[in-house]
């Protein structure tokens, strides 16, 4: 009720900014503690993430993965489900994408393969979410546990398949053969080049556009369809949902399928857009980071895009930092990420009350 009086920019601008600043301040202390110059480091971090077009490309490329997993976590959250299994769903989704590419890359054109791969990724991701969803809906098995278990199972399954079935001939590592170019999702820099836009070489590819489309899809689905209405009802008040004749179990299963499908699209970016072959561990923790992205993005697509960009910037800026100052290890970048999650996520209310109070008092005076 009090928010009405506080200017919007305070809540969406000032307070988040303060929180991030604080995170950087504390990170600076860590830098000092290990004898590095925090100012120089901050410079590289920011320059790396936003300072030149290639860097921006990388930032957005990471953000693409995080948008998918963030949306995945978020849509389940909307129905009151905590899908901690984005990692496994993304992994298996990637398998789906990879299989489509491996099967069709020499027989079909990109225009056909791309939609097939997207469907493949989404279907495989959804399939991996189905059992936990079914068990939650019909047997009440706690979805947090089952999705954790399915993450482990996905890892084992992938190693088994890669090593015994999908590995290319004659290479050491368990990676599949590289796809024919007809199964490569175009890079944005290649797409823009004919129009005279020079954007730096980066892995940023069409999957980014797909991610943005998913945001629109999410927004429409959740807030503008009757199904989304049911979903939100189940998530906020299951009793009211029963009263309204909504089948909670059915909604649970469907929303998890969508969640898993969204997570599975990470494979489109990673497998089809960047690596161009099927490999192990390409999910690299994006599924878990998606939890933080979803929550920090307040479970809203715009928020999720912003949070994903923030994290993408940290990944890319951090890589730049570690690259430019070799004595700085990649792990310290992880610390910065953690601090950002802490201060702008978990401690987001720390300043809120005081600052709002300040503005309210000024408004009252």
């Amino acid at each position: 009720m009090s928010q009405a009086k506080v200017p919007v920019w305070v809540n969406v601008g000032l307070i988040p900014l303060l929180n991030i600043l604080l995170a950087f301040l504390v990170s600076g202390l860590v830098f000092l503690a290990i004898g590095e110059d925090p100012i120089e480091a901050a410079g590289y971090l920011i320059y790396g993430a936003f300072g030149y077009d290639e860097g921006i490309g990388y930032t957005l490329y990471y953000a693409t993965n995080l948008i998918f997993t963030g949306l995945a976590v978020s849509v389940a959250f909307k129905a009151g489900l905590f899908n901690i299994g984005g990692e496994g769903q993304a992994y298996i989704g990637g398998l789906g994408v990879g299989l489509v590419c491996l099967w069709f890359d020499s027989s079909l054109p990109l225009l056909v393969i791309a939609p097939l791969a997207i469907i493949g990724g989404a279907l495989f991701g959804a399939a991996w979410a189905y059992i936990p969803a079914y068990l939650q809906a019909r047997r009440g098995s706690h979805i947090v546990i089952t999705t954790i278990m399915f993450n482990f199972i996905a890892s084992s399954l992938m190693v088994y398949l890669m090593v015994n079935w999908l590995k290319a001939e004659g290479v050491m590592s368990p990676i599949s053969r590289t796809f024919e170019e007809s199964a490569w999702l175009p890079y944005l820099h290649d797409l823009f080049a004919p129009f005279g836009f020079e954007i730096g070489d980066s892995p940023l590819n069409l999957a980014f556009v797909l991610a943005l489309l998913c945001c629109v899809f999410y927004w429409g689905l959740v807030w503008h369809t009757s199904w989304g209405y049911q979903l939100r009802t189940v998530g906020t008040n299951p009793t009211a949902a029963q009263y309204a004749g909504i089948d909670n179990a059915k909604v649970t299963i469907w929303v998890m399928l969508i969640s898993g499908g969204l997570a599975g699209l990470v494979g489109v970016n990673e497998i089809m857009g960047v690596n161009h072959n099927l490999l192990l561990n390409f999910t690299a923790g994006y599924g878990f980071a998606g939890i933080a992205v979803a929550l920090m993005g307040r479970n809203h697509p715009i928020g999720i895009v912003l949070a994903a960009m923030l994290f993408g910037a940290l990944y890319q800026g951090g890589a730049e930092l570690a690259f430019e100052i070799p004595t700085i290890t990649p792990e310290i970048v992880v610390v910065i990420q953690g601090l950002v999650i802490l201060f702008s996520g978990a401690l987001e209310n720390m300043f809120k009350g005081k600052i709002e109070g300040l503005f309210l008092r000024r408004a009252a005076a």
Binding site: M1, S226, N237, T239, Y243, G245
Partner: protein, 517 residues
């Protein structure tokens, strides 16, 4: 216990409290004479609970002073209040539901780091209190298994166990049968005789007149009047509360019942724990009549509404409705029942009737969200929803008439209007309606009652569940009484009176008494 050092147990001076933009308490003065029962009345949202919460240290006042027995005290937490000898029974019980009675009573007064030491002492003390005030309750019982009446006794025991000299009760009778309420007032009387000062908040003027010594009236956050109970009457108090004259009776004509539209035969329902919550309930509902279901809450009324409306499937029995036979083997869910033109205003608008996180226009289509009226080909038709919501808000005088306001931010009465409007405007053949005026103030009650009668007169069949006997008697054409999941009696409205119904509700009625009741 009776030596009084000061004429006033509690004195409040200039208490103010604001929540954001709401000034809940404005410069309140109050003096409560020691060893009396002091009533406080006021409309919903007048600020009564807030004031009591301040005395109990649950909220801190923005300004003002509190004195206990003439000593100014600083009450900054409930702990301070308990030390000052204040006990409170909250409007919404503050019990840990899966704890036993004993554990609840001991919480915060365990008497040592190990429970073992305290348990024996607590048992003994409870036994004494139970005997002294005839507050029987099984101390080993788990609170959530107890009927609300007993839960309330647990709250009182909690306060007494902590040695309260001042006992605050916030709307204690809302959930009690008349007999239970009578028992409560006997308890309060004996407390008063022991020197305990009682502050009683209630909406029921009858109770104020029957049991208090003094009464104070609040309106919109301010203390507007003090009266000696003996010197006032219902009409005056009602007028002081609302600020205008109110009619205290429902106007309605004789019912014109027509054909039976819904009949239920031998409905039984077992809950998840295997407890039989409905026992072979049969009833018939006719067009153009209001069938009232009386009973203390927790005696199967909620389950009956849930089974009839399709929310929970029955265990056995059958329902005939709209040419269909619905049974355990051929169930229909809530959405399907709605399609057959059955509407349902649930008992609990927060838990069931609304999604309080939704904006009003969204909550206004709950259950009808799939209907063509609100859906385009692919997406929901937001404009249609908003237009209709605006219309209804105007027609039903919902305040503020803002379809974008979060449902949670409407007052209870206005939330209730949103729910009732939604269900009634679907033009159903049968309307199930539970606790239509729970927590709703006098002005709004009048309006809701009028609407229900109007609907009946339009030939709809209405099943009304209420724990308010006044309401049941004022509205119903026929009354069924439920006890322990079964129907224990049926009377016509003209034969009904408070005593008979009250006894039936307590299952203490036997036919012989009927005639002279």
């Amino acid at each position: 216990m009776t030596q009084q050092t000061h004429p006033y147990s509690i004195e409040l001076e200039g208490i103010s409290k604001r929540f954001g933009t709401v000034q809940a308490n404005k410069n309140i003065d109050l003096q409560v004479p020691a060893g009396t029962i002091h009533g406080i009345i006021g409309e919903n949202g007048a600020g009564k609970s807030t004031l009591m919460s301040i005395i109990y240290g649950f909220y801190e006042a923005d300004s003002g002073a509190i004195s206990i027995d003439g000593q100014q005290v600083s009450i900054r937490s409930s702990e301070d209040a308990i030390h000052a000898g204040i006990g409170m029974v909250h409007q919404h019980f503050m019990l840990v539901e899966n704890f036993s009675v004993l554990e609840n009573v001991m919480l915060g007064a365990e008497g040592g780091a190990l429970l073992k030491q305290g348990i024996a002492a607590a048992r003994k003390e409870l036994k004494r209190l139970e005997q002294e005030y005839s507050l029987d309750v099984d101390v080993e019982a788990i609170v959530e298994d107890l009927p609300v009446g007993l839960q309330q006794r647990v709250e009182i025991l909690k306060a007494l166990y902590r040695g309260a000299k001042i006992l605050i009760l916030d709307e204690p009778t809302g959930v009690l049968t008349p007999q239970e309420a009578d028992h409560l007032f006997r308890i309060l009387k004996s407390l008063k005789e022991q020197g305990v000062t009682v502050i009683l908040i209630t909406h029921k003027l009858r109770e104020i007149l029957a049991s208090t010594d003094n009464v104070s009236v609040m309106r919109q956050g301010e203390m507007v009047a003090h009266r000696e109970t003996a010197q006032t009457d219902k009409e005056e108090l009602a007028e002081l509360m609302v600020g205008k004259k109110v009619r205290l009776k429902v106007n309605k004509d004789e019912a014109q019942p027509q054909q039976t539209v819904l009949s239920a035969k031998d409905l039984s329902f077992f809950d998840g724990q295997g407890v039989e919550r409905l026992k072979k309930v049969s009833l018939e509902l006719k067009a153009g009549e209001i069938l009232g279901i009386a009973g203390v809450s927790g005696n199967g009324q909620s389950e009956l509404l849930n089974v009839l409306s399709g929310i929970t499937p029955m265990s056995s029995g059958e329902i005939q409705f709209a040419g269909q036979i619905i049974s355990a083997s051929a169930p229909k869910n809530a959405a399907q029942m709605r399609d057959l033109k059955m509407a349902h205003v649930p008992e609990d608008r927060h838990k069931m009737g609304l999604v309080t996180g939704f904006e009003a226009y969204e909550a206004a289509v709950l259950g009808y969200h799939d209907s063509d009226a609100y859906n385009g080909k692919l997406l929901m038709d937001r404009k249609a929803m908003l237009d209709e919501c605006n219309e209804r808000m105007a027609a039903w005088d919902v305040r503020p008439p803002n379809p974008h306001l979060k449902t949670a931010n409407f007052s209870g009465g206005n939330q209730q209007k949103i729910v009732i409007a939604r269900e009634v405007e679907q033009n159903p053949d049968v309307l199930l309606i539970g606790q239509p005026t729970r927590g709703v103030d006098i002005g709004a009650i009048e309006n809701i009652h009028e609407q229900i009668v109007k609907l009946r007169d339009a030939g709809k069949a209405i099943l009304l569940v209420s724990v308010e006997l006044d309401e049941i008697m004022a509205l119903s054409d026929r009354i069924i009484v439920m006890f322990d999941g079964a129907v224990v009696g049926e009377v016509t409205a003209s034969d009904a009176n408070e005593r008979t119904l009250g006894l039936m509700m307590a299952n203490a009625w036997n036919e012989g008494q009927g005639a002279q009741a």
